[in-house]
């Protein structure tokens, strides 16, 4: 006789239900911000979280169309697959795309390229983002941030207030009892809205599987020429320049996050579809940012410091 201990493992139906509850919460947040704010925008990086966010936003207003544009803060350090994917998606959802370019910020002198052997443009994105928010007079920007990503994010509100300088002040946040969102701001101030606040990496992948959300191909296993640097596998070519003594090699990898190609690492993986990725995520012993983002390993409070400066 086969013993099935149904009381101890979440069943597929229970998983579907818990993901559906997260969807209800996210759609409620998206509708609320759209209704309360004059001119919101959805920040789209091409990563899986922003893919889920765009999918949810489209669902929130169906059969109507998305009542706000989508903005990509383009570091210029891109994976080609992500740009191809972005353009397909924009076409698919019929949304208006704004591209804010870090390169233009550098060319115009608003931002200064990091010096040293391994310049990343992650930090510079804040300048470009804040300039674009000011230029387009956006009063709210949706982001795909999740509280399980980082200890500073864990303390951020769903609707996060930014002052005239785009800064986040963790000690002066607005209370959000019952998740009631207060979108009142004065001219020059703006809000960041995080509808995925309560999602975990596992929830994101489960949702991608259930809803068939399209992703850039680099999220699944492929052969790639990489170099190992500080324990991370970086894709050779583009912004990653080989240094003396470094030996590139071919490896079967996939990406757990998509960011600035100069500091986003790949992980060794043979997971070629969502189900295989889910098995991997459930067994993972290292957080996705820890495994794949050199920029978050710099200091104990790297994310808090960048958020205070206006980062996503």
């Amino acid at each position: 006789m086969t013993m099935i201990d149904s009381g101890t493992q979440a069943t597929p139906a229970e998983i579907k239900q818990s993901v559906a509850e997260l969807e209800d919460e996210a759609i409620t947040i998206i509708r609320e911000v759209a209704a309360e704010c004059r001119n919101p925008v959805l920040l789209f990086s091409g990563g899986k979280d922003s893919a889920v966010l765009l999918h949810l936003a489209a669902k929130a207003f169906r059969p109507g169309s998305l009542p706000f544009p989508v903005m990509h803060v383009d570091t210029g350090h891109n994976f080609d697959e992500v740009i191809v994917y972005r353009d397909i998606l924009v076409e698919h959802y019929g949304v208006k795309l704004i591209v804010a370019s870090v390169q233009e910020s550098i060319d115009s002198g608003r931002a200064v390229e990091e010096t040293g052997p391994r310049p990343s443009r992650n930090r510079l994105q804040s300048v470009t983002l804040l300039d674009a928010i000011a230029e387009h007079k956006f009063d709210a920007a949706f982001g795909g941030g999740r509280r399980d990503e980082d200890k500073a994010r864990a303390k951020e509100r769903i609707l996060s207030f930014r002052d005239h300088f785009g800064q986040w002040e963790p000690r002066a946040q607005r209370p959000e009892p019952w998740n009631m969102l207060n979108a009142k701001i004065r001219p020059g101030e703006h809000l960041r809205a995080f509808p995925l606040s309560n999602w975990t990496e596992l929830d994101i992948w489960r949702y991608i599987g259930i809803e068939n959300v399209a992703l850039p191909s680099i999220y699944f296993s492929h052969r790639r020429t990489v170099v190992e640097r500080n324990g991370m596998l970086l894709s050779v070519g583009g912004p990653v320049v080989l240094e003396a003594g470094e030996m590139p090699f071919e490896e079967t990898v996939r990406y757990r996050t998509v960011g600035d190609a100069s500091c986003t690492g790949a992980v060794r993986s043979t997971a070629s579809n969502v189900d295989e990725v889910l098995v991997e995520v459930a067994a993972a012993r290292i957080t996705e940012r820890g495994a794949t983002r050199a920029d978050d390993n710099f200091s104990d409070s790297a994310m808090e410091d960048r958020k205070r400066e206006g980062y996503f």
């Binding site: 009381g7 101890t8 493992q9 979440a10 229970e14 239900q17 818990s18 509850e21 969807e23 209800d24 919460e25 759609i27 409620t28 509708r31 609320e32 759209a34 209704a35 489209a58 669902k59 929130a60 207003f61 169906r62 059969p63 109507g64 169309s65 509280r147 399980d148 980082d150 200890k151 500073a152 864990a154 303390k155 207030f161 963790p170 000690r171 946040q173 607005r174 209370p175 959000e176 009892p177 019952w178 998740n179 009631m180 207060n182 009142k184 701001i185 004065r186 101030e189 309560n198 975990t200 596992l202 993972a284 290292i286 957080t287 820890g290 495994a291 390993n297 104990d300 409070s301 808090e304």
Partner: protein
């Protein structure tokens, strides 16, 4: 399926350590987080692994060894998924306890076994009661520092039970003795306290039954009206919002409040997908048979409801005051209730709750972290429910028009 937990305790009651212990022992902590905590433990402490640093994420928190802001943590066992709102203990951050408790099924209140019940503990129990958190786990911590003494534990439980019985709304206390530092009764049963026959904390959290919401009948506060204006959906008007209070089905008769018009539900969409029925909590949009002027802020209510809401512009509410600027009689604020935003005038401050004694006294004004009861005149009629009967219909916030700051949480009790 998801259990939402708020944790509360005084400074140094070991709350962050307890959560760190839960995350660590359920293997939710990732290797890189643990190595970061090990590094930080050396910098901020004596070098022994400080599990509190798993949750105290802000620089100032690490430097001062305190928790400043509500932090949300996620962990799962094969049986259940948990969201923990970790709220700071200091008196000046009581507003965060209110925020944490507002969306929780269960509150874990920590007590230091050496100190017994403090004013902070009484405050936490009072807040749980006021916010309608019916289940409270009283975790008597640091039992290792009182030699795991049974009599000490029972004395504290007796004090807490006496206070819980005096609260404005009853809460069920589930007491247990623990040592967050050593792990006793957190994930595994304590071998140091064989006299305790109850479940360890994690088993309790996995099995605790949360009482369901009252069925007051379907309510939908309109957030947004979907009007595609496309050829295919030319006449489509979808009233979008989150269903609460009860279920809804195609063919149901609804009333639009405050207007009073009636119509029939002819379509329900969830994420753009048509369905015949909807359950509380679902984000839906509904279509009606009649062409009625309905906008954001209006509430669609089942015409045959087990409990009808009240339409009123005069409300009586318990209040948690959250900013330095005091609340005074005659002052004006913005009120946000469901999807309606209006102006509100404080016509009277009825009383201030004394959280330590669970009594109340008259008050001229309310200051930061005060809990009280107020009467408000609102510029438009609101569609309200008693907070304990239907939370979404009884919850509101006050906003300062000048600064935009959220100043208060309101638990509506009645109309005037």
């Amino acid at each position: 399926m998801v259990l939402r937990i708020a944790t509360a305790g005084s400074v140094d009651d070991g709350k962050s350590t307890l959560i760190g212990r839960l995350l660590h022992d359920t293997k939710t902590v990732f290797e890189d987080q643990l190595s970061a905590v090990e590094k930080a433990s050396t910098r901020y402490g004596d070098g022994s692994l400080n599990l509190a640093l798993l949750t105290d994420g802000l620089r100032a928190e690490r430097e001062q060894g305190i928790t400043i802001d509500v932090a949300y943590r996620y962990f799962a066992t094969p049986k259940r998924t948990f969201v923990v709102a970790d709220t700071p203990g200091h008196a000046q951050y009581t507003r965060n306890m209110v925020t944490g408790a507002s969306a929780s099924d269960v509150a874990i209140v920590l007590v230091d076994a050496r100190n017994g019940l403090t004013e902070q503990t009484r405050r936490h129990l009072f807040v749980a009661s006021l916010l309608g958190v019916k289940l409270v786990i009283l975790a008597v911590n640091k039992m290792d520092l009182v030699d795991f003494d049974e009599a000490t534990y029972h004395r504290i439980v007796a004090q807490a039970t006496a206070h819980a019985d005096a609260l404005p709304a009853p809460v069920v206390l589930n007491p247990l003795p623990i040592s967050a530092l050593l792990g006793d009764n957190v994930v595994d049963a304590s071998t140091n306290m064989p006299w305790f026959k109850g479940l360890p904390l994690l088993d309790l959290l996995e099995t605790i039954e949360v009482p369901g919401d009252h069925n007051v009948g379907a309510r939908l506060a309109v957030q947004w009206v979907i009007r595609p204006y496309s050829t295919e959906h030319h006449d489509y008007r979808g009233f979008a919002g989150r269903l609460t209070g009860g279920s809804l089905a195609i063919g149901d008769l609804i009333r639009v409040l405050p207007g009073g018009q009636q119509s029939t539900v002819i379509g329900i969409d969830r994420g753009g997908v048509p369905q015949d029925t909807a359950q509380p909590g679902e984000a839906i949009s509904i279509q009606l048979a009649d062409d009625i002027d309905i906008g954001r802020g209006d509430v669609l209510v089942a015409a045959v409801a087990s409990e009808a809401p009240i339409v009123t512009d005069r409300i009586i509410a318990d209040i948690s005051w959250m900013v330095d600027k005091p609340l005074e009689t005659g002052s004006r604020w913005i009120i946000k209730h469901q999807t309606r935003t209006a102006k509100a005038f404080v016509s009277a401050i009825e009383l201030r709750h004394d959280v330590a004694t669970a009594t109340h006294s008259p008050a001229e004004s309310l200051g930061l972290n005060d809990l009280g009861r107020v009467h408000l005149n609102v510029s438009v009629p609101l569609v309200i429910d008693n907070y304990d009967r239907h939370r979404p219909g009884g919850a509101a916030v006050l906003i300062d028009e000048a600064t935009g700051m959220t100043c208060a949480a309101l638990m509506i009790r009645d109309s005037e």
